[in-house]
């Protein structure tokens, strides 16, 4: 049995790795595309919010209070007396000017006399154009200046006013939290896509082409065929999934560069990566076995791909459970549910919040599930109704 299983594994590898186009499209291209896409998106987002430091904004002001003039003049803007509300607003809307700042008449006196019990406070109006980057930037700066000035005149107490570091989370934990939020869903999507790209071709494809019958007429046990297919397809799907994962890890810093988040995959140690690989491989075994069963019941690759679509939606739904509901699962018993356990183990590894018991439970239950699914596939290979359905 072992030797026939190895023969099937060798044949599946020869079929896959012998086809350079297939290797490129299944393994290399996803990782490369993700890297290029995320890097491009990161650069795009950076570009969208980046402004020219030498740019001097054109701004109109009405009733500028004397005490605010020096602070506002420090901003990179040329303040001009407003030509009138409507004309100034039209100029901002037409992107000919960047901002219109309107203080009420006698603003300083009104502010000084104002008490909360008097009702609405004096209102400062800032007109800007959110579709013009420079206008939006100047709006934020002016609003910040006014907020600070308001704080300074009504200051009763401060919160975290000093320059000390008040967030005591380590950089490692912060990066872990961010990875844990993003990666389980992405990884599961990549793994599922990889499995779907290889399993239907190998099983429904062989049925469609009539080559599976040629295998079934040999003395090989059906279990050898099922095991050989699942192991070889899992290795190929794992390589494809890892390529996507690598592409993501390498491009995430580029993607998140604009947000100022520190993302560095080196926060994880060798043990974390080994555990992650164990979880990923056993997950791939389960996914390949599931997709193989669906493919064995399908008459063609097209039918198998369609039948796998609901499974994809289910997988995505399960993957989202780490994003909502307070993060990682704590109930050890739930780690025996395949896929759900994998998603939460990944979350645990990325956020440094896993226990060894969770990992062992996940890997063992995934292996047991893969074994049971292989048994089902063996039964299907034995069923003439399934294998020779017309």
């Amino acid at each position: 049995m072992r030797s026939n299983m190895l023969t099937i594994i060798k044949k599946e590898f020869a079929r896959f790795f012998g086809d350079r186009r297939m290797v490129f499209t299944t393994i290399l291209m996803p990782g490369l595309m993700i890297y290029i896409l995320y890097t491009f998106m990161g650069k795009g987002m950076m570009g969208q919010f980046a402004t020219d430091d030498t740019y001097v904004a054109q701004a109109y002001v009405e009733n500028m209070p004397d005490e605010l003039a020096p602070v506002l003049n420090e901003l990179s803007a040329e303040w001009k007396e407003s030509p009138g509300m409507d004309a100034a607003k039209n100029a901002v809307a037409a992107k000919e000017a960047d901002l219109l700042l309107v203080f009420p008449a006698d603003f300083s006196a009104a502010v000084a006399e104002y008490k909360v019990s008097d009702g609405p406070a004096p209102n400062v109006e800032i007109y800007y154009n959110s579709t013009a980057t420079e206008s939006a930037k100047l709006y934020n700066m002016v609003k910040s200046v006014l907020d600070s000035w308001e704080d300074s005149i009504t200051n009763k107490f401060d919160v975290n006013a000093g320059s000390g570091a008040y967030d005591l989370a380590s950089e490692k934990d912060a990066a872990g939290q961010l990875f844990a939020m993003l990666l389980p869903l992405l990884l599961m999507t990549f793994l599922f896509s990889s499995c779907v790209s290889v399993a239907p071709e190998s099983i429904a494809g062989e049925k469609e082409r009539g080559t599976i019958a040629t295998l079934l007429v040999t003395p090989m046990k059906r279990s050898s065929l099922a095991l050989g297919k699942i192991i070889s397809l899992s290795v190929i799907a794992l390589l494809a999934g890892l390529s996507s994962f690598l592409g993501t890890m390498l491009s995430l810093p580029n993607l998140m560069a604009g947000s100022g988040a520190e993302l560095d995959a080196s926060v994880y140690g060798v043990a974390d990566y080994v555990l992650l690989l164990g979880v990923i491989f056993t997950t791939v075994l389960v996914l390949v076995a599931l997709i193989s069963i669906i493919s064995a019941c399908s008459k063609s690759i097209k039918e198998a791909s369609t039948a796998n679509a609901p499974l994809m939606i289910l997988m995505m739904g399960v993957s989202l459970t780490t994003m909502f509901g307070g993060g990682g699962e704590k109930n050890l018993g739930l780690f025996c549910i395949p896929v759900y356990n994998s998603v939460h183990c990944m979350y645990g590894i990325f956020s440094f919040q896993y226990t060894l018991a969770q990992m062992i439970m996940t890997i063992v239950s995934n292996l047991v599930c893969a074994f049971l699914l292989t048994w089902v596939l063996t039964k299907l290979f034995n069923s003439e109704k399934v294998m020779f359905a017309k």
């Binding site: 030797s3 079929r15 086809d19 080559t211 007429v217 003395p219």
Partner: protein
């Protein structure tokens, strides 16, 4: 004579889908493809199964090759039951039918090695047998060409060779010359005659009278899933041509041929 295959009361019933009911123009939900079929084949003989399309020849051979399971009855092939020991049966037979296809991505050379490994052929036998069979069918000229790039005749030759990698004693061929050009058909027919001289037992299904008359020792005539006559070629023909005898029997069992 030593019995090598004993078929006893083989039965196979297929469920008909609505689409199949329409094609078959019937309201029956099932079709009895093979009905209580029994026959015996002896070591070293060529046994021909003759019958019109849909008579149950292919279904019978697929049951003997353990691709499908009989609903009743059994067949014992060289001591192994198709019901109880399907893997042992598959190891003892070479099965060739047009529905068995080869992966177009691979070369004949790779496929020969692959199927030899699945049949557990020792390395030294594998090499010797490959040389022998490739040279016999001229496959050595295109041994490294992908199957997808071969002509129908070439593919049929490769399929034939692949079915014999393990040098089986019992060879089951379903319509071996169907769809072949006259030259390739002759190569296959000559090869069957060769196998007979080597003492192999051959079970062949066909509706080509000439092929049966040329190579078969005994004939079984199947009509509507039943064996209507099974005897030596001479006894079946009873001094007439096989074609004449077949139509006589057909009219007797089914009615006038329209």
């Amino acid at each position: 004579m030593e019995k090598i295959l004993e078929v006893q009361g083989l039965k196979k019933i297929f469920k008909l889908s609505a689409k199949q009911q329409k094609i078959e123009k019937t309201k029956e939900k099932t079709k009895r493809a093979v009905n209580d079929l029994s026959f015996t084949a002896y070591r070293g003989e060529v046994f021909g199964l003759l019958g019109p399309n849909g008579a149950g020849k292919t279904t019978t051979l697929r049951m003997l090759a353990t691709l499908i399971r009989p609903d009743a009855g059994d067949a014992v092939l060289d001591g192994s039951s198709v019901m109880k020991e399907p893997e042992a049966v598959r190891g003892k037979i070479g099965f060739l039918t047009s529905e068995l296809k080869l992966e177009e991505f691979f070369t004949p050379n790779y496929l020969f090695d692959f199927f030899s490994d699945l049949h557990g052929v020792p390395e030294e036998n594998k090499k010797r047998r490959k040389e022998q069979l490739f040279s016999r069918f001229g496959i050595d000229k295109f041994a490294e060409v992908k199957v997808g790039n071969l002509s129908t005749g070439m593919k049929q030759k490769v399929s034939l060779v692949i079915s014999l990698v393990h040098d089986p004693d019992v060879i089951i061929f379903d319509e071996p010359t169907n769809g072949l050009d006259v030259l390739t058909a002759k190569v296959v027919t000559d090869f069957l005659a060769d196998l007979k001289t080597q003492g192999k037992t051959i079970i062949v299904s066909t509706h080509i009278f000439n092929l049966i008359e040329k190579i078969c020792d005994r004939v079984g005539i199947i009509i509507d899933g039943r064996m209507v006559l099974c005897d030596s070629l001479e006894a079946v023909c009873a001094g007439k041509s096989l074609e004449e005898r077949f139509f006589e029997l057909y009219e007797e069992k089914v009615g006038e041929i329209v």
